[in-house]
């Protein structure tokens, strides 16, 4: 595993580096690529980003530490984030959050033993109109009438089957929501 010399990322890395007059400005998008590759921002990723941006690894680590969307601990394949801010809380986000943890059998911020899921609560995700809000690997998951535990069980089952099934399911729910929006 590596991001340097990895064909999968080559184009994106070059694009980010070319975007700024200064290599070091590309540090944040490159950290996302490292996180995508390794599942979290690990020391290898930090060393590679430091090399790409011509910075000291300490400074890259410092940036990764400041922003919460970089994970400095190993994460599951799917990173589920439940918003528990005001709007979502009023629509039962706390219960959803706890039930999700219970369902997965993990503590807050923990990862399932099979390495599939990490779940945690987060601050506002800017989707209050669809509360309670949930994000899977930084992509919104929404459903008509709002997410319920039943949806989440379906989601977990789909993910355990394979990624394609999961993406199809999320897309299906999104289409339903969009259709409803158009009708109203």
């Amino acid at each position: 595993m590596a991001i340097i010399g990895n064909k999968k990322y080559q184009e994106r890395i070059n694009e980010h580096l070319a975007k700024y007059p200064d290599k070091r400005s590309a540090v944040m998008p490159l950290l996302y690529i490292a996180q995508e590759e390794y599942g979290w921002v690990n020391d290898e990723g930090i060393a590679e980003v430091a090399q790409l941006c011509d910075m000291d690894a300490t400074q890259v680590k410092s940036i990764a530490g400041f922003y919460t969307m970089y994970s400095e601990k190993p994460k599951g394949k799917y990173w589920l984030q439940v918003c528990t801010d005001l709007a979502c809380a009023l629509r039962g986000a706390d219960e959803l959050h706890h039930e999700l943890l219970h369902e997965l059998g993990i503590e807050e911020g923990g990862t399932t033993e099979d390495g599939m899921f990490t779940a945690e609560h987060v601050m506002c995700l800017a989707g209050c109109d669809r509360a309670p809000m949930l994000q899977c690997n930084f992509h919104f998951v929404e459903a008509v009438g709002g997410l319920t535990m039943a949806h989440l069980r379906e989601l977990i089952a789909a993910a355990r089957q394979d990624d394609k099934t999961l993406q199809k399911l999320i897309a299906k729910w999104r289409d339903e929501v969009n259709k409803q929006v158009q009708q109203s």
Partner: protein, 849 residues
């Protein structure tokens, strides 16, 4: 600062004239004697306004916009106050500025900041190394509430022993996040290996450096840390600051002459004698500001190492046996009398001026003038003529000025100069670095801008790095006007020009040629006889300059080598350990007398081995590379029967009927300066003069700059050059020597210098000994291929007089046809000067050792 415009600012109702643009905290301290409390602000670094401790009420005198006249109100100028408290450290003095530092509002502000900083600060002052000299402790006493409103159970519990490297430990609980250490590494050292991690209450200092945090200046972070968060592995839990007596001293390791304080106490571990517990910087803005290198800080254990020679030894048959001074001195006197004047001295740069004077007088009395300097550098006589002008200060070089560093790896040889040269470039000076191999400073010179991580600005830099053919430093510089007129003119036409010359890859002839070529360039551009212009050399040890002033030269040394005397005295030098070829001429010496700290290779052949005291046990003076005569004081209890070198010789002279022995180093200096006109009649008390220095790290607010010490031991006296005294130096002919060639099938061996090595002085400091590189020889890829050597292989380097088994380091940064062998790394002596050598593979790389 003299030329800057003065402006009027009012502090607590009184008006002061201060330089426009000066930092308000500095201005208040310097001009108004008003100590505005600070934590994050440090006078040597850019302000960041992070800790908020320096809040003041700030206003501006109001002026009529139409007429520009000051508006009066009740007979007083009307002041427009800013609505909130302002951080003084981020303000610069402007005309009409009005500051209040003693109002209730300010007091409340300071109290709140202290309370905030203490919300989770541990109450471990009784076991904290900083306790007793802690800015947080002091400012809490001065400005704090005295009672905590915080719930003890809510206190954060964090790791208290985090090693950032082998040398520096972090206590996460004590850290108040001022970022002084981060900014020091970033702005001053230029190696941003420290940073903050996470945020809010979880903010911590981290490093991802590999190996750990170990720059050559890392110890300074513990001095400027305003709390006990950073401590050194050497001193932590070693003593309490209030038990310590600070004795002014001078770093004995290099030509910078760094001013230090030796913190001592009577210690059980040293038989109840005074013992050095730590080494701290002592402010001397013209020499080292308030910084010291890690070598200066951590290499002091040799002074009380049990390996030291502790009693006079005399050879009886094959063996050296201990004796007492009362027997050794008469025996020595007999030997010297019998020599009939066929006596010579070889002295190293570790001997003080007093030592060198007594030796010189001894020889004079015996009818000899053969005073040899045992050093790698030659041409030092030129430093007396065109050395940097009196009043020079590397800290004031900047835009429009130029510095050339040639034939030296400055970071490894004189780290303090490296730091100051780097900072001069930051201020805008043109930095040229020329060597036959890439060095860290060359890398800095070729950068076009410096990233300062803690600030958004990027400093544009000017400089150039040049690689010349191995060993051809003098050829390169002598021909510079033709080969690179642009660089030549940039240097020549600079407002001020300082040249720092080393001796890497040069023998004594080559070294002298390089010094002459440098002198010619300086003279051509008129860069002599004035401050911030002239020549400096990376003379090894602390008193290389003193050797020259006292008449010890490499020319004489060469004569001693060619015609060995019947009796040779070696004074704090080890020719047999330094140079594998020394044995051939040394064998012609009938009686060898060595004055030494450690039993070394020369001792093994000596008829008499006499133990001398180290710099820490005695008084004396060294002359640094900028010709500053500086005084060091007795700090530590003596080791065994060792005596100051000058005293041994003084007693010997008395025995020989050369007059009564002097009773103090001061008396020796008195005689010395009365006899040598170049010393201008200076006395010990002149060397002890101090004056207030900017920025003021002392004063009422003792720890303004951290724990770096106010200088109470003297700033020293800089000797003028002949050019300073008005005699116009003339350019001389550069006698370019033939560059040494490797024999057929061999490589050109060039000795290099490493800051940390296995010399006798380094070995007893365990912390540093662990950081010494494994013995190696650096080879070029192509040469290695030809010789069938791979990176990491064990190889034997064979040269005239010996061989050394080391590890091969193969890279492209070593020029072809050359093998670099650092001195004092291998177990056996390696060459001191450039020579021809063969490299033979011994065995394959060992995977893990």
């Amino acid at each position: 600062m003299a030329e800057t415009k003065l402006v009027t600012i009012t502090i607590d109702g009184k008006a002061y004239q201060v330089p426009a643009g000066s930092n308000l905290v500095d201005a208040a301290k310097w001009h108004a004697d008003n100590d505005i409390p600070v934590f994050c602000y440090h006078p040597k670094m850019a302000p960041v306004g992070m800790c908020r401790m320096c809040v003041v009420e700030l206003g501006m005198v109001e002026k009529d916009r139409a007429t520009g006249e000051v508006i009066m109100e009740n007979g007083q100028p009307k002041v427009r106050w800013m609505p909130k408290l302002q951080t003084a450290c981020t303000q610069v003095a402007t005309d009409g500025m009005v500051v209040r530092t003693d109002t209730d509002k300010v007091k409340a502000g300071r109290e709140s900041v202290i309370e905030f900083l203490l919300t989770s600060h541990p109450l471990d002052c009784p076991i904290c190394d900083k306790g007793g000299e802690c800015p947080l402790q002091n400012l809490t006493m001065a400005h704090g509430n005295g009672v905590s409103r915080m719930n003890f159970a809510d206190k954060l519990k964090l790791d208290k022993h985090v090693p950032l490297g082998d040398l520096i430990y972090l206590d996460e609980e004590r850290c108040i996040q001022c970022a002084r250490c981060i900014r020091f590494q970033d702005e001053i050292v230029g190696d941003d290996v420290l940073a903050f991690h996470e945020r809010g209450r979880r903010l911590q200092i981290i490093t991802k450096s590999d190996p750990g945090f170990d720059t050559y200046f890392s110890g300074n972070t513990t001095d400027i840390c305003p709390v006990g968060a950073l401590t050194t592995a050497d001193f932590r839990f070693g003593a309490r600051p209030w038990e310590l007596t600070d004795v002014p001293s001078i770093c004995p390791h290099d030509a910078a002459g760094t001013n230090i304080s030796l913190s001592t106490r009577l210690d059980r571990d040293f038989g109840g004698r005074a013992m050095i517990k730590r080494v701290m910087p002592r402010q001397n803005e013209a020499v080292n500001e308030i910084w010291i290198s890690d070598r200066t800080r951590f290499v002091h254990h040799f002074t009380r190492s049990d390996d030291r020679l502790q009693s006079p030894m005399v050879r009886r048959g094959e063996r050296l046996s201990p004796t007492v001074w009362n027997e050794a001195i008469p025996a020595l006197a007999e030997v010297l009398k019998a020599a009939n004047g066929d006596v010579a001295v070889l002295a190293g740069g570790g001997a003080s001026n007093e030592d060198l004077w007594e030796l010189r007088q001894l020889l004079k009395g015996l009818g000899s003038e053969r005073l040899g300097a045992w050093t790698t550098h030659s041409g030092a006589e030129l430093l007396l003529e065109v050395g940097v002008g009196k009043g020079s200060n590397l800290g004031t070089l900047g835009k429009g000025d130029a510095i050339l560093v040639v034939a030296s790896d400055l970071e490894e040889e004189v780290p303090m100069w490296y730091l100051r040269v780097k900072q001069a470039q930051d201020r805008g000076a043109f930095l040229a670095v020329a060597n036959h191999r890439p060095t860290r400073l060359a890398e800095i010179a070729s950068q076009t801008e410096r990233k300062v991580a803690s600030q958004t600005e990027r400093k544009p830099l000017v400089g150039k790095s040049v690689l010349y053919e191995a060993g051809k430093a003098a050829h390169w510089l002598n021909d510079l006007a033709n080969s690179d007129p642009e660089l030549y003119n940039t240097l020549k036409d600079a407002q001020n020009l300082v040249i720092i010359a080393g001796a890497e890859g040069l023998d004594w002839d080559g070294g002298r040629a390089l010094m002459q070529a440098a002198a010619n360039l300086l003279i051509a551009g008129g860069h002599v006889g004035k401050p911030n212009n002239g020549l400096m050399a990376t003379l090894p040890e602390a008193n290389g300059m003193g050797l020259q002033y006292l008449g010890y030269t490499t020319q004489n040394a060469l004569d001693i080598i060619k015609n060995p005397p019947s009796v040779l005295i070696t004074a704090q030098c080890d020719p047999l350990g330094d140079d594998p070829t020394a044995g051939s001429w040394m064998s012609k010496v009938n009686t060898l007398i060595t004055l030494t700290l450690f039993p070394d290779d020369t001792t093994q052949r000596a008829a008499f081995a006499l133990p001398v005291q180290s710099f820490a046990e005695r008084d004396g003076t060294f002359i640094n590379g900028e010709r500053r005569v500086q005084r060091f004081y007795t700090a530590q209890g003596p080791m065994g029967d060792a005596l100051p070198l000058w005293e041994i010789i003084a007693r010997l002279r008395e025995r020989l009927g050369q007059g009564r022995a002097k009773v103090s180093a001061a008396a020796v200096m008195l005689e010395l300066s009365n006899h040598l006109p170049s010393f201008n009649g200076i006395r010990y008390k002149d060397l002890a003069q101090v004056e207030r220095q900017y920025p003021d790290v002392g004063g009422k607010d003792l720890y303004y700059g951290g724990t770096a010490y106010q200088n109470k031991g003297g700033l020293g006296v800089q000797l003028p050059t002949t050019a300073d005294n008005g005699s116009a130096p003339t350019t001389g002919t550069v006698n370019l020597p033939e560059v040494k060639q490797a024999k057929k099938g061999e490589l050109l061996l060039i000795p290099t210098v490493r800051l940390y090595n296995r010399s006798h002085i380094m070995r007893p400091s365990a912390l540093i000994a662990n950081r010494v590189a494994k013995p190696f020889a650096a080879l070029n890829n192509a040469d290695a291929k030809k010789l069938g050597i791979k990176h990491g292989d064990r190889v034997e380097v064979r040269f005239n007089g010996g061989q050394a088994t080391v590890t091969a380091q193969v890279s492209d940064s070593t020029p072809q046809g050359v093998v670099f062998v650092p001195r004092y790394l291998a177990d056996t002596p390696t060459p001191m000067v450039i020579t021809s050598a063969s490299v033979v593979k011994v065995s394959d790389a060992v995977a893990v050792q």
